[in-house]
């Protein structure tokens, strides 16, 4: 005769709950690692600031540890797309060697609608100290124009 053991039941319940959440967080990619990844995490990546002056728009993106070679910046029909990959620490590091693993890694892509028309031929991008800066010259018709006020 099987004996009722509350601990077995509790263990079973724990497994059921784990299984229910498996779809959100599989064993090889725990949920906290998603935080930096697009789509799956609650945060957008990369985070950006948009700045402007009379002639240009500037997009500054927070992308530490991203291999500049993997960065891809495209502009099409008024939409700016930034994609790239934040590489993992050396692949030969075993999971058990980690004391802390807070820096997420992986591929990312993010698209923005630009607020004004830009001159797509003259866009520049630079990567410095983990920041990506995209310089988007405004199209001639998007630049502010000084209007002289005549005094009658």
């Amino acid at each position: 005769m099987a004996q009722w053991n509350p601990f077995t039941d509790m263990d079973q319940l724990r497994r059921d709950i784990d299984r229910a959440f498996e779809e959100f967080a599989s064993a090889e990619a725990p949920a906290h690692r998603f935080a930096f990844l697009p789509g799956r995490g609650p945060r957008r990546y990369p985070l950006v600031n948009l700045l402007e002056d009379k002639d240009n728009l500037y997009v500054e993106a927070l992308t530490p540890g991203v291999d500049p070679q993997s960065l891809n910046v495209t502009v099409m029909q008024g939409r700016l797309t930034v994609s790239g990959e934040k590489s993992r620490v050396a692949a030969d590091v075993k999971p058990e060697a980690f004391h802390r693993s807070e820096r997420a890694s992986g591929k990312f892509v993010r698209t923005f609608d630009l607020p004004v028309e830009v001159n797509e031929e003259r866009i520049q991008a630079e990567y410095k100290n983990g920041l990506l800066i995209v310089i988007l010259p405004k199209a001639e018709k998007a630049k502010p124009r000084q209007v002289n006020v005549k005094v009658a």
């Binding site: 985070l47 600031n49 530490p64 980690f98 693993s101 983990g130 920041l131 800066i133």
Partner: protein, 133 residues
């Protein structure tokens, strides 16, 4: 091996008076780190976007590793939309005696600080030769 000294929630830390190390920082962010062990020692990687070499201060005093970074924006112009603010980075770890503090090396690349903390000689695993009589 490596105990965190920084309280992650900086706001709470600020309420604790008498901590000289944190009082000097008006506003600081805790950078995310990876810490892993290699046969030679420990490697610490910290994301410090916007921190240039001269804005970075890494020091070891009394087994306390302190990482301080002064971050600055690179883009000119007037801010029209903001998702982040670059403030200062601050984090502290307590090192064990087993790290050879004289041989610590640091590299800053693409906004990521990599610290190599070699193990002290006596802490490395050693194979004992067995003599067969």
């Amino acid at each position: 091996m490596m105990a965190e000294k920084t309280v992650p929630d900086y706001a709470r830390e600020k309420e604790t008076p008498g901590r000289e190390v944190t009082r000097s920082q008006e506003r600081a962010m805790t950078p995310p780190v990876d810490i892993y062990e290699t046969p030679e020692g420990l490697v610490v990687k910290a994301d410090l976007p916007g921190v240039a070499k001269d804005g970075l201060d890494v020091r070891v005093e009394n087994n306390l590793l302190t990482i301080r970074g002064r971050a600055s924006h690179s883009a000119p112009g007037e801010l029209v939309y903001r998702e982040y603010d670059l403030v200062n980075f601050f984090r502290q770890f307590e090192l064990s005696e087993r790290v050879d503090q004289a041989k610590i090396s640091a590299e800053l690349k693409n906004g990521v600080l990599t610290l190599n903390l070699p193990k002290a000689e006596e802490a490395k695993p050693r194979k004992i030769d067995i003599h067969v009589a």
